[in-house]
């Protein structure tokens, strides 16, 4: 704990004590800490303590060329890195007035949805582990690796794709790739009944998850909650449908909603979203072979590329919620300011601090994971 985070507790009653969750992967994908005060088994106060993964991304970006940041931004969210590079590119494209070729837009959607599937598989696994079920965790992580195999094949990198550049994407899909995608999706679909058996319809898990970490819709809106966490409170808000970017308006998919707002509802939304993402990817796989044309609009030499002065707020629906890049250019070769609106910031700080209150010690980790926050994105 850092000195500035230390809060003196004035003579706590003998049955009350302070408990630190973290900072070593406390039921969240990265280093993060939650200090809770408990009375018996009940949480009475909570204090989110981040900053362990602070690398100053936003400031770093101001010191790098526009294109160099492409290899920096995926690191802001390790489990779901693709939306970072797509969103950053979109902001630049808007400011500079660069049109992205159609085919590149479809490929970006393919990348985004595969990334979402991988992220959700990871979250299931993690969530299961917080309730003491380790088999689903191994399954989730192992099956996510199959998606990473796909990424390795088409972007050249397993985790950090670094596949986008302002103007489009960096290379052709390799031969036989779409076939491999279909096969992988078939496999993942065939695995869902197993997941259901072991995890989603496991009475132990449902009993543990129901009623835990209940988030009211009004409260959610007040705190800037987005993504599956918001949709689990009954509000069907999804940027892919409500503020479509790339070619999402040409795709058919549903926006799954749950009403209860608890950990179980959030899990259900993610499970349904996984299925919808598979549906989207299948549409892209079907459409891409019919397409022709360039992959990227040519841009100037990156060592001397000035983006015209201007600003843009580009947003996408990441697996965690609304991810946005607010990019300001003063007409130079480096961004003047980049602000990352990461959905996890709200989820891991304000929301988490309020949701754990009144809950029990054993549910803290689960509540954290059900919110699916990403610490590096909180810290940036």
């Amino acid at each position: 704990m850092r000195a500035e985070n230390y809060q003196q507790i004035n003579h706590p009653p003998s049955h009350a004590f302070e408990l630190n969750f973290g900072p070593n992967h406390p039921g969240i994908e990265g280093n993060y800490a939650l200090q809770v005060e408990v009375e018996g088994d009940t949480i009475v106060r909570a204090h989110a303590d981040g900053g362990y993964l602070h690398r100053g991304f936003e400031k770093l970006m101001e010191q790098r060329l526009w294109i160099q940041n492409i290899s920096l931004v995926p690191r802001i969210c390790v489990p779901d890195p693709s939306p970072m590079e797509v969103c950053y590119s979109m902001a630049i494209e808007q400011i500079a007035g660069i049109e992205v070729p159609q085919r590149a837009q479809w490929i970006r959607v393919l990348q985004l949805e595969l990334s979402r599937i991988a992220a959700h598989l990871f979250t299931f696994g993690g969530h299961a582990a917080t309730t003491g079920m380790y088999s689903p965790m191994f399954w989730g992580v192992a099956d996510r690796d199959l998606i990473l195999d796909l990424f390795e094949m088409f972007t050249g990198g397993r985790v950090y794709s670094i596949y986008n550049l302002p103007g489009g994407v960096r290379r052709e899909l390799p031969a036989g790739f779409l076939q491999r995608v279909s096969e992988t999706l078939d496999y993942i679909e065939s695995r869902l009944p197993d997941y259901d058996d072991l995890f989603f319809t496991n009475r132990v898990f449902i009993r543990r998850a129901k009623g835990v970490g209940v988030l009211e819709q009004a409260e959610a809106l007040e705190m800037g909650v987005t993504g599956p966490n918001l949709r689990a409170t009954g509000l069907p808000f999804d940027l892919r449908r409500d503020d479509p970017y790339l070619i999402y308006d040409q795709l058919e998919f549903e926006v799954p909603v749950e009403e209860a707002g608890d950990a179980w509802a959030r899990t259900l939304v993610r499970r349904a979203e996984l299925v919808e993402s598979i549906r989207i990817v299948r549409q892209v796989v079907k459409a891409l072979p019919q397409m022709d044309g360039p992959l990227r609009t040519a841009t100037p030499n990156p060592l001397a590329w000035k983006i015209p002065a201007g600003e843009h707020y580009a947003r996408v629906e990441s697996s965690k919620g609304e991810l946005a890049y607010y990019v300001v250019s003063n007409g130079s070769e480096k961004p003047w300011r980049v602000h990352v609106r990461g959905p996890s910031t709200m989820h891991a700080v304000q929301v988490l601090e309020s949701l754990v209150i009144g809950g029990r010690i054993e549910d803290v980790a689960q509540t954290m994971f059900s919110l699916d926050a990403c610490p590096p994105e909180v810290d940036r």
């Binding site: 790098r64 060329l65 294109i67 160099q68 940041n69 492409i70 290899s71 920096l72 088999s135 195999d149 390795e152 094949m153 088409f154 050249g156 990198g157 950090y160 670094i162 550049l165 489009g168 994407v169 960096r170 290379r171 052709e172 390799p174 679909e189 869902l192 197993d194 259901d196 058996d197 072991l198 995890f199 989603f200 319809t201 496991n202 009475r203 132990v204 898990f205 449902i206 009993r207 799954p256 749950e258 009403e259 209860a260 179980w264 509802a265 259900l268 499970r271 349904a272 299925v275 360039p294 992959l295 990227r296 040519a298 100037p300 030499n301 990156p302 060592l303 001397a304 590329w305």
Partner: protein, 606 residues
Amino acid sequence: MSRLSYKEEGSLLRPLRALSFLGRPAVTLPLEPRPAAEGYRGFHLNDHKQCIGCSSCQKICDNAAITMVEVPDAPVDPLNGVRNLRPAIDYGRCCWCALCVDICPTGSLNLSREYVHTCTQEQIDSYFMLPDEDGMHGLHYEKGWQRSEASDLLALERLPMGERPVEERIDNFSEIVAGFTPQQAVEEASRCVQCGLCHDACPTGMDVPEYIRAIYEGELEQAVRWIYQTNPFSHVCGRVCTHRCEDACAVGHRGTPLAIRWLKRYAMDQLPHQRILEITREQKPTHSSGKSVAVVGAGPAGLTAAWDLAQMGHQVVVYEARAKPGGMPRYGIPEYRLPYESLDRDIEVITSMGVEVRCGVEVGASVTMDQLRQEYNAVVLAIGLHLGRSTRIPGSDHLQVRKAVELLRRVTEEGSIEVSEEVVVIGGGNVAMDIARTIARLQRQQWGEVRVIVTALEDLQNFLADPDEIREAVEEGVVICPSRGPQECVVEAGNLRALRSWGVRSIFDRSGRFSPHYDEEDEQYHPAGMVVEAIGQMPNSEQLLGESLTEQLEWARGRLQIDENGRSSEAWLWAAGDCVNGPDVVHAVADGHRVAASIDEALNHE
């Protein structure tokens, strides 16, 4: 795939179904190394033979993971843009983004399909390595990530340069090249990767990356300051330089090199001349050394030496035999390539530094070298090559057989000369093109049509003239006859009728010596009322130096013997420029600097 309901109660028994996995075969993955996917971004592979050490990879690297390391065995060839630097990668910093691969101007850099590198604590330095084509562990993994059309980061295409169309330019001597507009110049400058290979290739070592960068930033004054660091003939070199820099340009390996010459011209043309004079005056000396230097010949070499010496505080007087200073750029280069106005501006900059130019003074006649020697502390001989060489074929002593340099000089002096209806030019270099195109213009004025033939020993692939010159000459109606060896200027009844030529079988013998072989059966007559020889020049120094000095000096094959700094065997005499060191303006400028530095050192030690 049905959706689960929130009301789902779940089952206590269904999780037990997973027990069926106990009976299934285990998934095992092989432990031995296996290649990653095609296009994987693994460790770096660098073909050292292809790599030119331009350091573009280092510049694009967002983690400063690349350091350029000198590899002593690697070739160094500045004229072709090759350095012996190679990228070394720090894998503690590398993030495998492959931007270095995508920007590589030669394509020497790729990533391999190798996954893993581990080491013990003692081998921790192994994360810093100089990759070659064998890969990180010498295991010859195949190439993974390679640059694709979509990932290519360089801007390969040069911006087209506006030119006066043929019909507008053929009747007159107006400048052909339009020059860049500000927008074009910035865009062209933005293609630069700042490698500095151009600087290494330039005879006078111009700070090209710096002034291109300044142009890109819109800082024209700064660009001009950079240009004047090394070259007082910037207007001239912005137009007629042989641009070695462009031959060395890294971008030229896969695309067209940057138009460095035109960018220099842009910077010089855009800034008002008065402002350029103010800027160059910043370099004016505040002290006087009390020493004086005489320069013979007001061409690029002599005036550059004078410019440098004046800045060093010496008093400099330049003696010029012709009516105006400028040397070969004025009396040898036609105005459609180099308007005299541009040359005059360069000269004004030089004279404003305090250099005195005395025109119309023929050294050897009105003033002798001996007088100069007594009057000044040092003398620079920069007299150029103003005598044309002759083919010495039969009939070449006819009055209508002329030398190209002599005709070009007369065109400058007299504005025009009389040309005959049919002209044959012998020679395939830039001087041949200059005279052929000059005559073409004069023929249009005097005869209404162009009938100029250029015959040269070389075939078209090996022509000595710039490809642009050849293209423009052909556009203007000049006929090029490659691989022709001149045999005789045919004279009938005292009148020149034609040039007789044979086809060329080979120009050089096996040991590479000039020894042309002809096909005697392939004989042609090129009708001509005038034949112009443009096969080379020589200095005109005998009268100038005088007999006794000529005897005192050391000579090598008709050329004055000098040391590497241009100093002759006489301690007070230096020589520079074409007369000792051909063959073009920028070499003459470089020579001028070299000689000036040597003189300054000598005078300071006197």
